[in-house]
């Protein structure tokens, strides 16, 4: 148990070190001026006054270790820098965008998990039959089509030509809707990005559960359950699937990186005001402090979710306690 804790702590420390390297050291390692490298966006003129202010802020006239200390203190205060292009603190910008991304990611995560699991379980149960084979092939094809392409096609067909869904935003601006109408409006804007993100995740869940089910089905306890005359559906979901979904939980951490990539493109395509669109805008404006802030927040979020998953996993599969 102590070994395991040590291992996890090392991983987190290394990750944070890597993050600090990217955010702190990289701009300072670049040839040329740090301030100009970090702040020269397309719409910012760096006056002498601003330049001096930034030098003071980052302590650039002091030695490197003092600069690092200043950086850490600001980080600890939740101060991720100031975006001179948006004229707002980076933290505020990120916190405004985060809820929308969370809404999108969490909903699609749950939806795709349920759909992928049910399809995977059913497919593995009739393995080798026509239903299974056609489901498998179509899932592989859906898996291959990148979310970027799906998003673009959905936007073109359903929003631009069909006109059934909004083309951008998370709610209708200036509509002053309240109550149920407001929620309906938000859902209305959510549908296309959500469908795209969910579609991009279902095949992964499906393949994982299908393969894991195939191995579980041949366990003796499934045969025993069958011999006892337990109903087919009950064996499928309560005996076999109960154990077959374990790999799903171990892979949540790895899957997160995949989801972040998906969200970035999907939000950009549908102009959905979350972290992805914020990243896109930061890229287009060359707003590096904002990009750094987004990277910091996402890495910290991924680490946090990993801790939660780790704790949960012990509850779901008590065997891991003994494995270390």
């Amino acid at each position: 148990m102590r070994n395991r804790t040590a291992k996890i702590v090392t991983i987190y420390l290394l990750t944070i070190f890597f993050l600090l390297f990217l955010n702190f050291l990289l701009p300072r390692l670049l040839p040329g001026d740090v301030i100009l490298a970090m702040y020269s966006g397309y719409e910012v003129t760096i006056t002498d006054e601003l330049y001096n202010e930034l030098v003071q802020l980052h302590g650039l006239n002091k030695p490197l270790h003092v600069q690092f200390f200043i950086y850490l203190v600001q980080l600890a205060h939740g101060n991720l820098g100031y975006s001179h292009i948006c004229h707002a603190p980076t933290t505020t910008l990120i916190m405004d965008a985060l809820p929308w991304t969370m809404l999108l990611v969490c909903t699609s995560f749950i939806l795709s998990a349920i759909i992928g699991m049910v399809l995977g379980v059913e497919s593995s149960w009739v393995r080798g039959k026509r239903t299974d084979q056609s489901l498998l092939v179509s899932m592989l094809v859906v898996d291959g089509i990148p979310s970027l392409a799906v998003g673009i096609l959905f936007l073109t067909i359903f929003s631009l030509y069909g006109g059934w869904f909004p083309t951008s935003g998370a709610m209708t601006p200036y509509s002053n809707l309240a109550g149920i109408a407001h929620i309906k409006d938000i859902l209305w804007h959510l549908i296309l990005p959500l469908t795209t993100l969910t579609l991009s995740q279902i095949p992964g869940d499906y393949l994982l559960i299908r393969n894991s089910m195939i191995l579980t089905i041949r366990e003796p306890y499934v045969l025993t359950a069958r011999a006892k005359g337990i109903k087919e559906r009950k064996i499928k979901y309560f005996h076999a699937a109960r154990n077959a979904i374990l790999p799903f939980f171990t892979r949540i951490g790895i899957r997160l990186a995949y989801v972040i990539t998906g969200v970035l493109f999907i939000e950009t395509i549908f102009a959905y005001p979350g972290l992805g669109l914020l990243t896109y805008n930061a890229i287009s404006n060359r707003d590096l402090p904002l990009l750094q802030g987004i990277l910091t927040v996402s890495v910290l979020l991924v680490l946090l979710i990993n801790i939660v998953v780790d704790l949960l996993y012990k509850k779901i599969d008590p065997r891991v306690e003994y494995a270390y």
Partner: protein, 284 residues
Amino acid sequence: MHIRPFREFKRNRIGVTGLVMFLLLSTTAILAPLIAPHDPWDYSDRSFQPPSMNHLLGTNDIGYDIFSELLWALRTSVFFGVSVAAIACTIGLILGVSAALVGGLYDLVVMRIVDALLAIPSILVLILIAAYFRPSTMILVVTLSLIIWQTIARGVRAQTLSLKTKPHIKAARNMGASTVYIMRKHILPELFPLCAMGFVTKARIAVFMEAGLSFLGIFDPTTKSLGIMMSYAMRYLYLDVWFNWLLPAVLSLSMLIVSLALISYAIEEIFDPRLKGGNNAATV
């Protein structure tokens, strides 16, 4: 190993379909300079021409021939995918095998780096680096390889560790075989499926990343890219260019990635024989 990978692959319909698709697309991509009817950087033609015999897919906003552009963009995708996959596989293979064989502190360090890299969203790292350096294609290839080798190293290490204790390796060692001989004759051949799998998976990630990053506008703007084509086509959608400009780019990208997905599934099925066939053995 009593699996004959090539014979098995030939029988696997999903795999063959994927491979044929991939070979067709990459041959087209390699031959792009010969096949392309126009110079893709020649903007002397009228812009927004509809498809015709001269311009199979018409011309774009500044008069580039879209069909030629598509071929060259496909070339970038294939080149990017294959080279990233090759570099990432090499790094993963070397670090994985050496970690398993050397062990000790070295093993610990390599594995912790692997775990840390798994927790970091590679796309954001790539975006940040690209935004700072505005690097050329080659540097992006190397950077991406440097942050996605981790899963290969992990798999290779686990496999090597389990091979190390197998009787036939011990027997070879007892008969005086050198480490290099054992590596070459016993360990590397058994690592082939893992590497093949890793290669295809990484190629897929790389193709997607290249298109994605250029769609976001942080890729070398002088190269032809499916992502750049898509992002420009999106801007002129109101001119009804989606069927001759947007759709071909989207379809080519999808077909390339679908082909890789099919191949990777087939490889997985071949090397994990438990996944093959029906449920009869278990359900009767």
